[in-house]
Amino acid sequence: MRVETRVQVKRSFLRLSLTQREAIAFYLFISPWLLGFLLFTLGPMIAAFLLSFTFYDVISPPRWVWFENYRIMFTTDPLFWQALKVTFIYVFGSVPLHLGAALFVALLMNQPLPGIYFFRTVYYLPSIIGGVPVALLWLWIYNPSFGIANWLLSLVGIKGPQWLFDEFWIIPALIIMGLWGIGGAMLVFLAALQGIPRHLYEAAQLDGAGVLAQFRHVTLPMLSPVIFFNLVMGIIHSFQVFTNVFIMTQGGPANASLVYVLHLYRNAFSYFKMGYAAALAWFLFLVILVITLLIIKSSPAWVYYEGMRGGRQT
């Protein structure tokens, strides 16, 4: 009896120490990320929030000014509204077009066609080369006098616009060049399309559904989680457009392409208004957060998760 209790005690102690040891090991294994998260994510986020209530020019110590930065932002900085407007037009122009095109190409590719692997690679290639090379290439393509954009238009008898030098055409030009990089989203859609079980289509066909009805009632619902994901990430991503604009237009002509992050960058690193830049950053963060939350809130109405059907097998 005594022996038994002792064994039990020992065993439960051992078990406890094992779980504890496992927990300690867990925190050791994730410690690089935890440290990085505190130093480069959470810490800076809080710091940016506090900084947004100060004037700080890097040389003299920060001065607490309460909501002065936000007041300047909303009332006396006309470029803030311009940057916000330009960025919204860009985001709501490019994201639907980008996703629509990627989905369309993925649907086309999801068929037994000759050379499909070759074409898949071709479509994906521009996504790898991103960054500065793409910006330089399109800068040359959009050259109003010698670029191929206007040469192609001249073939069909259109005199092309000045593209990057035209206040109206600059944003459409950026959106069109973004279409060049649909390969990443296309691959994700393609993988999801290939995961849709055949039997759903067979059942729909038995019910007499045509191609369009199958798309509407099988493909779209089954793809909706991936569409949802690509939509959220696409919006977050395109709100932060920077490199292309910085290299191709520097925000011009007449601030017609002054995107938000470029405005932020200039305030921080050209004018050294760190406090103001932090306020700009936090405001954009809130805008993105609200839009993301709205999409997430709307998702039960249009996103279909197969795992949540309630266990009935079809």
Partner: protein
């Protein structure tokens, strides 16, 4: 009569399918031309004389093919230095990212601890965090550390977790490996680190290759980081060097610039074609696109 025959013919499923496929194929080819034209134009420009780049309508096959644009492209900007700097940053960051992301992913995939699921949600949430929120304080932090004009701000964060995306990708992969492997190893007296280092890592080569390639691309193409932290010209990366050539020179030598850009694209392209399969699998595994 012919009308009804044609109608009958059209109503056959196989004919409709064939028509739909032919139509799809036409669209796909048209789209790939839209994608290929800029690349062809870049190659064509890179082989022209400067005079010929300023012809309209453009001549696709240059009058005289200037192969020597390529050696010249490596000297009209300080290409050697930029390449060297880019390689140092890219490779050091990539190694850090592979090691630290896999270490953290192992923790999330295999070990139980209070707070684990919460931390994993936090990790996933950082995937959606816009980078610009942390930009200014991070810059001030590195400035206070005296790390401006060093490569440390571009490398050290990669050694600390290496980005939520890679951790997530590797955790998903580790989760597909059978737990019996760990148990067997533990019975043989292996420590957790042994299990990570000698069992999980060797079995995860395809996933690690995906991380390596994504990480290589990310650092090779990075622009904002070098732009903010590197102001001494000899420390520029390729992205920064090419960008500043365009934004500071009034007269751009497009033929040389396109040649230099093409050379810059070679390493990522070679990597992509070598590891294409692992890469596409990695994308399908996570449903993310980097």
């Amino acid at each position: 009569m012919i009308g009804t025959l044609a109608h009958e013919f059209w109503r056959r499923k196989s004919v409709q399918n064939l028509f739909l496929r032919a139509l799809s194929f036409t669209f796909i080819v048209a789209g790939s031309i839209f994608i290929a034209i800029p690349v062809a134009w870049m190659i064509s420009t890179s082989l022209k004389t400067l005079g010929e780049t300023f012809l309209f309508p453009p001549r696709w096959i240059p009058h005289e093919i200037r192969w020597d644009n390529y050696p010249r492209a490596l000297t009209f900007i300080d290409y050697g230095h930029y390449l060297n700097n880019t390689l140092i940053i890219t490779i050091s960051a990539m190694i850090g990212q592979i090691l630290s992301a896999s270490l953290v992913a192992f923790g999330f995939a295999r070990l139980r601890a209070p707070g684990r699921d919460f931390l994993f949600v936090v990790l996933l949430a950082t995937l959606m965090l816009p980078y610009h929120v942390t930009l200014v304080p991070t810059y001030l932090l590195f400035r206070a550390l005296g790390w401006l004009n060093t490569y440390l701000p571009l490398i050290v964060p990669s050694w600390l977790g290496g980005g939520a995306f890679f951790i997530f990708l590797l955790r998903q992969f580790f989760a597909t490996l059978p737990l019996e492997l760990d148990d067997a190893a533990r019975i043989d007296g292996a420590s957790l680190f042994d299990i990570y280092w000698r069992i999980m890592l060797p079995l995860s080569k395809p996933a690690l290759a995906t991380v390596a390639i994504f990480s290589f691309f990310a650092h090779w193409n990075d622009f904002l980081g070098p732009l903010i932290y590197l102001s001494r010209e000899r420390m520029y990366t390729l992205s920064l060097g090419l960008a500043f050539y365009v934004t500071t020179h009034g007269q751009v030598e497009w033929n040389l610039l396109m040649a230099a850009t093409l050379v810059t694209l070679l390493p990522p392209l070679i990597l992509f074609f070598t590891f294409q399969r692992a890469f596409v699998q990695g994308i399908a595994l996570t449903g993310l696109k980097g």
